[in-house]
């Protein structure tokens, strides 16, 4: 319904950088083609890949920055929609290949290209010895291209292209070292979990089309605002919940989170870019983008916040007892994504995006820092032909002596994620908790979510302190011979870390709250996008607590963070840490945590195996082999051969006399017919 939408779109014809936005998608895609072709050649030129791979990202980032400043000048109330061609004309329904540029897209675009550029640069150092160097950059470029389609798409179907595309790249990159079976399995698992979520996304999209007759964001929002009575029919809640099922798959929430920890099988820059900073936040982006839809349904929003709170707490407890440095960070990511869903479920869409941005900074830094550690550990262990696990924190210890830059940067990120002021994570996490607390006044269940969030914040500080203590403090456990080979990571790997470190520290500046003299810039910036959702009855009236309550909440949050860090550090360093082969078996609740509550085993026992059993026993053995192959295909063949064939061969007995009899009978019959 193009005529209806025109009024709501910006009338300004985009010029300058905004009209060049398609470049941000096509540049990484061109990089993918270039690196992909190089990777197919046997002798690849690493130099060309090292230049082109990151360069396309930096160029895209430059366009994003220019477009951002142009948008800041315009500051339109309505999104700028750039139409390119009609993708699917179906009767009078048309899906256009269009990009939407508004304040939310601008933020996401900056994060994806900015953090993406840094991670691409880091990868030059991290992957330099890998055989699949060109292939790695090809996949990484392709991922960014799809991610930008996701954040720039002007309608759900276009967003879905990106949604599926990043899932594909995630699969390809998790299984990047596919010659090792567990890596390929992890990719497969991620793909399957995401398919379940995608099913939800598709159902939501079809339902939305069925009732609204349109799928582009502008028209859908108009339609929703024009039909507030729809809430009572439950259709809005249904659509929102199916979209959220998609989010639980992509953003690793309960019940579909299990793929993300396994996704750490991929190279560490992939974990940083895809499985921490960008792709997994797509679900949060989707809810913020559909803020009108979610704000209309209180029930759906409570489910979103509840699942987020549960995931935040649940994943944080598992993180307490992991020894693989990347697994700790993976569960931390799941937990922090839960925070973002608490925010968007509370109706604090800006707070969710705020935490998305700061999390992208400090979690990318943590992952890249752990990547540096793993890189150095791997080289040291490789030099002495040791088979110890380069990712197991029990093999590390005292690394700050050899890797001071990495140590200090990771310490900054740890302080940020633990919510210590004035680091970025403090502002974003505090805002989420404050909003959840404020919402409790209207719906008391949010007090529970607040409590869970606060507890998760405590656990976050503890497991991060434990990670730092086991990796950088105490005695070194790598081994005397290996110690000779420990050193700081190369400059190409530390420089992106330094940039991310600065961002982790000052990232909170984009949304400084009033109590430190800020003006909540991000709130004002995103107002045109989230304003409609914020104005709806269920969300309207949600304000940050003020005065004594505000300071009390901040005080509690900071106390929790500081105590958690102190406790985590102290309890980890209190005893000598045994190396993996000397470690005693876990006991009690620690055993439950070390085994991740046996969730994978439970899924395996109650979902995977019954499904596989059903598929094998019924669908394969009975339906496919029995009914289709047996009855439908081999059945007629058997009848032809053993019944019709037998009868036919009896007629053909080689006796001319018999043939003549038939001939005669036939002649008589024709005669009879001819004579009437």
């Amino acid at each position: 319904m193009p005529t209806a939408t025109l009024a709501q779109e910006a009338v300004v014809m985009p010029t300058g950088a905004i009209s060049l936005l398609w470049l941000t998608v096509l540049l990484p895609f061109a990089g993918f083609l270039f690196n992909g072709i190089l990777s197919l050649r046997r002798s690849t030129s690493k130099a060309a890949v090292s230049v082109v791979g990151p360069a396309v990202l930096i160029a895209a980032f430059a366009v994003a920055v220019a477009a951002f400043f142009q948008l800041q000048g315009l500051h339109p109330e309505a999104p700028i929609v750039l139409r390119y061609w009609t993708w699917m004309p179906v009767g009078d329904f048309q899906i256009e290949m269009a990009l939407q540029y508004d304040q939310l897209s601008a933020i996401m675009l900056l994060v994806v290209t900015g953090v993406g550029s840094l991670i691409h640069l880091f990868s030059i150092g991290y992957m330099k010895a890998d055989e699949g160097y060109a292939r790695f950059f090809a996949y990484l470029n392709l991922f960014v291209a799809f991610m930008l389609v996701l954040v720039l798409g002007a309608s759900y179907p276009v967003l879905f292209i990106g949604w599926e595309g990043v899932g594909l790249c995630s699969y390809l990159l998790i299984g990047f070292w596919f010659t090792v079976k567990p890596n390929a399995d992890a990719g497969f698992k991620a793909f399957l979990a995401n398919r379940i979520g995608d099913f939800g996304f598709l159902v939501a999209m079809f339902t939305l089309y069925h009732v609204a007759g349109a799928l582009d964001f502008v028209t859908v929002n108009q339609w929703l605002l024009a039909n507030p009575q729809l809430v009572d029919t439950g259709i809005v809640t249904t659509i929102a919940l199916f979209f959220f099922l998609g989010c639980t798959g992509k953003s690793a929430q309960i019940p579909l989170y299990t793929w993300l920890p396994d996704a750490m099988a991929g190279p560490t820059p992939v974990s940083a870019l895809i499985h921490a900073a960008t792709m997994v936040t797509a679900g949060v982006y989707l809810v913020a983008r559909s803020n009108v839809l979610f704000a209309m349904s209180e029930a759906a929003s409570i489910v979103v916040a509840g699942v987020g709170a549960l995931t935040a707490l649940f994943a944080a407890t598992i993180g307490l007892r992991q020894y693989d440095i990347k697994k700790v960070l993976a569960y931390s990511t799941v937990s922090q994504l839960g925070y973002m869903f608490i925010a968007v479920g509370t109706g604090a869409y800006v707070a969710g995006i705020f935490h998305l941005v700061t999390h992208a900074f400090f979690k990318a830094l943590l992952f890249l820092g752990s990547g540096s550690v793993i890189h150095v550990m791997h080289e040291a262990l490789h030099a002495t032909h040791s088979h110890a696990d380069a990712q197991d924190m029990r093999n590390m210890g005292g690394l700050r002596r050899w890797m001071p830059t990495t140590f200090w940067l990771m310490l900054l990120a740890t302080l940020a994620i633990a919510g210590i002021p004035p680091f970025s994570g403090f502002f974003s996490k505090d805002e989420i908790l404050a909003f959840a607390f404020a919402r409790g006044e209207a719906s008391p269940v949010f007090y529970v979510f607040y409590g869970m969030g606060l507890l998760a914040a405590l656990l976050t500080a503890i497991y991060m302190a434990r990670l730092m203590a086991m990796t950088f403090f105490g005695e070194n456990r790598t081994g005397a011979a290996e110690q000779q080979h420990l050193h700081e990571a190369p400059a190409i790997m530390t420089w992106p870390l330094i940039v991310l470190g600065v961002l982790s520290v000052i990232g909170g500046a984009i949304n400084l709250p009033h109590f430190v003299g800020g003006n909540e810039w991000l709130h004002h910036w995103l107002e045109p996008v989230t304003g409609a959702g914020h104005a709806l009855p269920w969300v309207a009236g949600l304000h940050l607590p003020e005065g004594a309550t505000e300071y009390a909440l901040i005080g509690i949050a900071v106390l929790v963070g500081v105590f958690g860090l102190w406790f985590g550090m102290r309890s980890t360093l209190a005893r000598a840490i045994p190396t993996p082969d000397a470690a005693p078996p876990e006991r009690g609740f620690a055993r439950v945590l070390a085994n991740k509550y046996w969730v994978d085993e439970i899924y395996d026992r109650f979902i995977v195996r019954p499904v596989v059993g059903l598929s094998r026993g019924f669908l394969w053995k009975f339906m496919d082999k029995g009914l289709i192959d047996g009855a439908a295909v081999n059945g007629p063949a058997w009848i032809s051969r053993h019944v019709l064939g037998k009868a036919g061969s009896l007629l053909q007995n080689g006796q001319v006399g018999l043939y003549l009899i038939f001939f005669m009978l036939g002649a008589l019959w024709i005669l009879r017919v001819a004579l009437g």
């Binding site: 036919g648 007629l651 053909q652 007995n653 001319v656 006399g657």
Partner: protein, 101 residues
């Protein structure tokens, strides 16, 4: 030929044709079968001649065609029988069953 001979001529033709057909169906020897076919052809010839009384000279002409074809057929057919005999040392058609299914 007098018109009143038409009925007996056709009757004789039918009898001859039936004898020939029965022979073709029942006898085993290829030579006899061949002769029975000749009897059938000649029965048809007789019918043509008889019916020419009513329908003009076309019947006579057709007889010549039939005789020509019969001559050609006899040449080919006897040649085939000769080859079969050389191969099988017999002209019994029951033994010639290489193409049975």
């Amino acid at each position: 030929m007098a018109p009143d001979l038409l009925g007996p001529a056709l009757a004789l033709s039918a009898v001859l044709f039936s004898i020939g057909a029965a022979g073709v169906l029942l006898r085993r020897s290829a030579i006899v079968l061949f002769m029975c076919i000749e009897i059938m052809l000649n029965a048809v010839n007789l019918a043509f001649i008889a019916l020419a009384l009513l329908h003009g000279v076309a019947g006579h002409i057709m007889v010549f065609f039939v005789m020509t074809v019969a001559a050609a057929e006899a040449a080919v057919g006897l040649a085939i029988i000769l080859v079969v005999f050389r191969h099988k040392q017999s002209v019994d058609l029951q033994h010639v069953n290489l193409l049975r299914g």
